[in-house]
Symmetry: C2
Subunit: 255 residues, 2 copies
């Protein structure tokens, strides 16, 4: 079992940022500088395709969760992403995606199969990450755990959460139902799910089918007008409130 090795540390505006590795995988853990009174909830995040652990979408969401709610937030680079090596298979799939895009052909079939491949590698990495984080005294095994990943983060998150009883609330969205719908049927925890109404890659029927698949008694779907990359920033605020609601910590962030 891999433990977590911190490699760098900084802080600003009340948020402590610690780089780490767990095995060969680089990650980052954001925490309140002041430390919580008891075990604080932990939100695991997964970044989108082509991005990395410190993409502004990740650090921005982390700041909302840490500064607003006092939570811990952790994310690791996905296989083939960020500071991790790309295999020949990664290179071939990325080339196939760019070729489809240039030719105006559907990206879905390539993204679905490549994300499935990456998820099979990433799920055990997330399990090891959670094990290692729960070994830290400031997190421990007693706190609540959430998961937040959109796009490729959903492709990784759904199979991870389906088999991970420690996660008790999750935010997903913007993915095709192929591969994932069967896993989503095993998920019963509260879910918030984002979908773009004018997504040029994922049809409405595909997006709704994945939302519908979750077995969760409590699930919310947030649809917004706009294309695939136009998910409104207020949905990040909404996701933070979703976690705050379920993990019973008021957020201090503005509306």
């Amino acid at each position: 079992m891999n433990s977590l090795h911190f490699t760098a540390e900084s802080s600003s505006n009340g948020v402590l940022e610690r780089d780490f590795t767990v095995g060969d995988v680089p990650g980052v853990l954001w925490s309140p500088v002041s430390g919580a009174a008891g075990p604080a909830p932990l939100i695991l995040m997964a970044h989108g395709g082509g991005n990395h652990r410190k993409h502004p979408a990740m650090s921005g969401r982390a700041r909302l969760l840490v500064a607003g709610c006092g939570f811990h937030v952790a994310v690791i680079d996905a296989p083939g992403h960020g500071d991790r090596p790309r295999t020949a298979h990664d290179e071939a799939e990325v080339a196939a995606l760019f070729a489809a895009r240039a030719a105006g052909e559907p990206e879905g079939p390539i993204v679905v199969r490549y994300n499935d491949h990456l998820a099979q590698l990433a799920v055990p990495e997330y399990r090891a990450l959670l094990d290692a984080l729960q070994d830290l005294p400031e997190i421990g095994t007693g706190g609540l755990v959430g998961f937040w990943g959109i796009n490729m983060g959903t492709a990784i998150g759904i199979p991870f959460v389906a088999d991970e009883p420690r996660v008790s609330a999750a935010v997903f969205g913007q993915h095709w139902p192929d591969v994932l719908a069967e896993k989503a049927k095993q998920i019963t925890i509260p879910i918030e799910f984002d979908l773009q109404w004018d997504d040029e890659h994922i049809t409405r029927e595909e997006g709704l089918a994945l939302f519908d698949a979750f077995a969760s008694q409590e699930k919310s779907l947030h649809v917004n007008s706009g294309r695939h990359k136009e998910l409104p920033r207020f949905e990040a605020d909404s996701a933070v409130r979703f976690f705050a609601r379920h993990f019973a910590r008021p957020t201090t962030q503005p509306a």
Copy 2:
């Protein structure tokens, strides 16, 4: 043109509540006790079928908007509702609805036609209400105006907003698209729309069709698991944030 006549006044927890009549129609206006520096936004609400202007759903939403955002909020009894007389036609339609319910037959056809009838009466009343409210010095004609109505409130609100250029943001939801979809196609202002995923009266396809009909460039759909009457209370908080976001006033309410 009818002016507004105040008939009673009380206040609690910073919220001033004033009963009024406009013509023969009774209503209530909630405002900040302390008064705003400039013209504050006004939210017009419409209540659901079988309810009235002071139903807890109305006063609860008003409290969030007034105490949280400093807005004015007004609602009137719909025709045949609250303190207003019921006509023989009202009695017959209510009896038809109860009979359908008792027989386990679909309520939709009756509710759609009766709400359409009520909306034709209520739309000019809302227009007169807005005229009269804008004659008040503390509201005036310079402020922003929103509309918030679910169920029957949507049946009234969509035709009202479609022809009312003074309204610049609206929250609707939970209605059949019959009658309303054509009017919704004329609406271009930002919309938040609520839909219940397991509604026993309104199918998913019907709910999505009405959301889809709005011509608004910016529109959001909030779907939640649960039956018709199980709209989560956090959607009221979300609607308040929607108005606060568009009318540029921070809300102080908790998440």
